[in-house]
């Protein structure tokens, strides 16, 4: 099977700390957050759903899904976005003219306008690291060890093993985009 690099985000272990957001910015000199951590079903960040004390709180880090059929690639008039054979959706910043068509095309709200307003930017899956055999910086710095990287088709990789053995889901699968980011839903509390 061909290589399909991607991420698993295990919500059971995500503590919503946003170290991924900070790490990504530092590593990639991102001018806008490429990873955003949402508190699910909450009116405000870091607040639970339910009624005290019957509560739950689940975090959902949003990031480029490195889709198998990425709408942003199709939409980009400058041909600045492309899907690499092994998985990552790559933005060529030299070719980008900042038209932001990709931003409207992305159903995951994963592409940002750079702080100078001239270009767009997004998660690269840390190509500069993974091509050296390293894991993405967010995965290295994840406090909860919730972000796993690897070849999703290879059950020997961290991400592939998780996908092969644990329940996972993708964001908005009905769109047919084929996200390469899988989420592990939190396990149900067992009570006392």
């Amino acid at each position: 099977m061909s290589k399909r690099l991607g991420l698993v985000i295990d919500q059971e272990r995500c503590i919503g700390c946003e170290a991924c957001t900070v790490a990504c910015r530092l590593e990639n000199q991102a001018t806008a957050p490429w990873i955003r951590v949402e508190t699910m079903h909450a009116s405000q960040k870091d607040t639970p759903e339910g009624r005290f004390p019957e509560l739950s709180m689940t975090f959902l880090p949003h990031v480029c899904q490195h889709c198998d059929r990425p709408p942003c690639v199709d939409a980009c008039p400058a041909l600045a976005l492309s899907k690499r054979e092994d998985g990552p959706v790559v933005l060529d910043r030299e070719a980008c003219d900042g038209c932001q068509t990709c931003i409207s095309a992305c159903p995951y709200d994963a592409i940002r306008v750079s702080s100078d307003g001239l270009l767009v930017e997004k998660c690269t899956l840390c190509l500069h690291r993974i091509d050296q055999g390293l894991i993405p910086f967010c995965a290295l710095c994840c406090e909860g060890q919730a972000i796993l990287f690897g070849d999703l088709n290879d059950p020997r990789s961290d991400a592939g093993r998780f996908v092969a053995n644990e329940p996972t889901y993708q964001l908005r699968p009905e769109l047919g985009t084929g996200p390469s980011v899988y989420y592990g839903p939190p396990k149900k509390p067992r009570g006392l």
Binding site: C17, T21, L134, E143, G144, Q145
Partner: protein, 756 residues
């Protein structure tokens, strides 16, 4: 590591005062500037880690607001007007003023208020060395909320902290745990790396996780069961649990006999342990037990099995075993009564007690938060007593790594021929300044502390304490709220700019290596202390600078540090000396008077606290009815800050821009408060005005503002304008009085609805 092109990589340690993570850091330096930090490797890969604050540390070092050079106050204190002076001027003048104050009031009138050095040692030690040479006063900052846990732990276990005894099994491996009880702490935000990861690992391996906290924290969101108790009622919960454990016969009798004072006889008239002499036994000073076979009193050792429970008369003296006294107390706390006090249902208390009592292996995770109440020391003892009665305290030793025994002596008493410094707790500093008791303090030196911001009753500090002082010196990186009141303000180095020895994370020790020269005119704390020492005539004690001090502290000639040198540490972390597994269970001798876990402490009999009794909180309103201040105010910790550090970091502020008071929907509705409204939290001492955050995530009747925000980040006041400086005399006698910042009553109204 990912090599930034053209960069050199230097290994150092983030010593931020977050606990004991002491994350190893690789700093990438390009053209003299640190361009990146990343988590460094350890022999055990699980220690490779970093948090969002560590990742933000370049924003501290290169912060545009760093203090750049020494400053001398020109306007009134607190106004924030300063003029630039040289280091020579600053240190000359400070030395001269110290000497003048000392000539008039004695050196004890000079107080060193040293906050959290984090994992650092010599940055702290340098000031202690100077304090000991001058015989001035070290103001211990354990009392900044962190003294009650040691108070309780010292009584029960004879150790300063109870972590290894209560939760050591989370680290040591072995058979999987079936239960993890997280009590009054939120490690998901305050100790994500060294603790929360392990809790999640244990849960993955099958452990049931229970979280006890007035707030539904991130940690609670990872639990199987959440118990949202009323703040300050932990000891009542513990007694309710003990009631059920005893009722169901789930106590671990073998453990109680072997490791606790449970079988020792206590005189019911005096509350003291019966001694051999009173029982007419040969061993006059020894504790006495009731021999189960001979049915008579005997010295605790040697001998056959003692009775664990019962009432006995010895030489005409009525006695009960210590365990019996505990059982008698627990008998009066059936789950229904504990439920009424704690707000946890009786059924839940009973089920948790059975889980604890029936667990093969349980761990209890706790920290300082729930002990920041007037009786927080007893709360900790209640928790620890539950663990001990269930036999879930790590009381045997199977080998492992030695703790780092450092050469502290030259810092605590630099000149062996002369006495060391005087000591005051930080909560005792208040009266020392205000009324000269137990002795007057006329000058304070603040280092790595934001006293005005972080300590109780900020109004009293600014309006009453500071005006009484002849001299205030502050060494810091920024113009903090405290710094504004300084007479001399000295720019301190960030952790990337100096070297120190860091004996964490166990079992490793590390070298915090200077990565770049201090920016601007900043100096390390060790340099600052040395500069002052020179002017006071103690030059020779600081020869060799930071490195000399590191070599000194490593020179302990203790087996734990054998072969560990500064040179070798440059290459990376080193493991402490191992103690071989001796092949059998070795008893831990507890450093209590009896050598056992003291579920009964005779020294507290007169205070009525020999057992972990439940005593109501000082201020926390357990019933709102008819109270002027019907809400319990607590201060959780935020992942965005370590106390008040990182409160000024732009990228963190983007994610968490301003303080909010968390209030339940129910309490907000009653007060007409909507999400985002500006509200004033107040009591007789002061007020804080800020936005309201409505949430179901905390118990109705409780409001929370995370601590650490700077004064100027509030519209008005701050968290510590609400807190009080009341001293608990038992804590003062046992160890050091603690600040009770989670035992505070307030009211909340929409802004403008409170008279000014």
């Amino acid at each position: 590591m990912s090599q930034t092109s053209g960069a050199t990589v230097i290994r150092t340690v983030c010593p931020a005062h977050c606990g004991i993570d002491a994350c190893g850091i690789l700093a990438h330096v390009k053209d003299g500037r640190v361009v990146k930090v990343e988590p460094a490797e350890f022999p055990d890969p699980s220690y490779r880690r970093i948090c969002l604050r560590g990742l933000s540390s370049l924003e501290i070092t290169y912060h545009p607001d760093r203090l750049r050079h020494p400053l001398r106050r020109v306007g009134p204190r607190g106004e924030g007007r300063f003029e630039r002076i040289t280091w020579d001027q600053a240190l000359d003048e400070i030395a001269e003023k110290f000497q003048k104050i000392a000539a008039e009031h004695g050196w004890s009138a000079v107080g060193w208020v040293l906050g959290g050095p984090g994992g650092g040692t010599t940055k702290f030690g340098a000031y202690l060395r100077l304090a000991s040479l001058t015989q001035s006063t070290r103001v211990s900052t354990w009392g900044y909320g962190d003294a009650a846990l040691p108070c309780g732990s010292r009584i029960l276990f004879g150790t300063h902290t109870p972590y290894g005894l209560l939760a050591g099994s989370l680290r040591s491996g072995g058979a999987p745990l079936d239960l993890v009880v997280v009590w009054g702490t939120n490690p998901a935000e305050s100790q994500p790396l060294n603790m929360m990861r392990r809790i999640m690992d244990a849960r993955r391996q099958g452990a049931r996780v229970v979280v006890i906290d007035p707030r539904f924290t991130v940690t609670a969101s990872k639990a199987d069961e959440y118990l949202g108790l009323k703040p300050g009622t932990d000891a009542a919960l513990a007694l309710g649990l003990l009631h059920v454990i005893f009722r169901e016969g789930l106590e671990d009798r073998k453990f109680l006999e072997r490791h606790t004072v449970g079988p020792y006889l206590v005189r019911t008239d005096t509350g003291r342990f019966l001694r051999g002499r009173e029982a007419g036994l040969e061993n006059a000073d020894e504790y006495v037990v009731w021999d189960a076979v001979a049915q008579g009193p005997r010295s605790r050792r040697p001998g056959g099995p003692p009775e664990l429970t019962g009432s006995y008369t010895v030489s005409g003296l009525a006695c009960k075993t210590a365990l019996q006294l505990l059982m008698d107390l627990a008998e009066t706390y059936p789950p229904g009564r504990a439920a009424e006090i704690t707000g946890i249902s009786a059924e839940t208390i009973a089920r948790l007690a059975e889980r604890i009592g029936r667990a093969e292996r349980a761990a209890f995770v706790t920290h300082m938060g729930f002990t920041r109440t007037y009786h927080g020391d007893i709360s900790l003892r209640g928790l620890g007593t539950v663990a001990a009665v269930a036999g879930q305290v790590t009381a045997t030793f199977h080998g492992g790594h030695r703790p780092a025994v450092l050469n502290w002596k030259p810092f605590l008493q630099a000149d062996p021929a002369r006495p060391s410094y005087h000591r005051l707790g930080i909560l005792q500093l208040y009266q020392a300044i205000l009324s000269g008791r137990p002795f007057p303090i006329r000058a304070v030196w603040f280092s790595f502390i934001n006293f005005l911001n972080q300590c109780v009753d900020s109004r009293k500090i600014a309006m009453e304490m500071f005006p009484k002082l002849d001299l205030i010196v502050d060494a810091d990186l920024f113009m903090t709220p405290t710094a504004r009141y300084a007479d001399y303000l000295l720019p301190a180095a960030s952790f990337l700019e100096f070297s120190d020895f860091v004996p964490h994370p166990h079992p490793y020790v590390q070298l915090q290596q200077k990565v770049i020269e201090p920016l601007h005119e900043a100096r390390s704390d060790a340099d600052i202390a040395a500069g002052l020492a020179r002017r006071l005539g103690y030059r020779e004690f600081f020869n060799g600078g930071e490195e000399g001090l590191i070599d000194l502290i490593l020179d302990a000639k203790d087996p734990s540090l054998a072969g560990i040198t500064r040179e070798k540490l440059k290459q990376g972390p080193m493991a402490l000396g191992a103690v071989p597994d001796l092949g059998s269970e070795q008893d831990v001798r507890f450093s209590t008077p009896s050598g056992k876990i003291e579920i009964y402490a005779e020294s507290l009999a007169e205070a009525g606290q020999a057992l972990p009794v439940y005593l109501p909180p000082l201020e926390t309103p357990l019933e709102a009815e008819g109270k002027a201040y019907p809400l319990a105010f607590i201060q959780g910790h935020s992942r965005f800050r370590t106390h008040s550090m990182f409160a000024n970091v732009a990228s963190l502020l983007e994610m968490n821009p301003e303080p909010v008071v968390e209030i339940s929907l129910e309490d907000a509705a009653r007060r007409g408060i909507a999400e985002g409204d500006l509200v004033t939290v107040f009591n007789d001492r002061g007020r804080a005005t800020l936005k309201a955050r409505l949430t179901e995530g905390l118990r109705p009747g409780v409001v929370n503002i995370t601590e650490g925000w700077w004064l100027e980040q509030f519209r008005e006041g701050s968290v510590n304008h609400l807190t009080h400086d009341v001293i608990n005399p038992v804590q003062e006698a046992v160890y050091e009085p603690n600040m009770h910042m989670n035992d505070v009553a307030v009211e909340v109204v929409r802004r403008g609805e409170v008279e000014s």
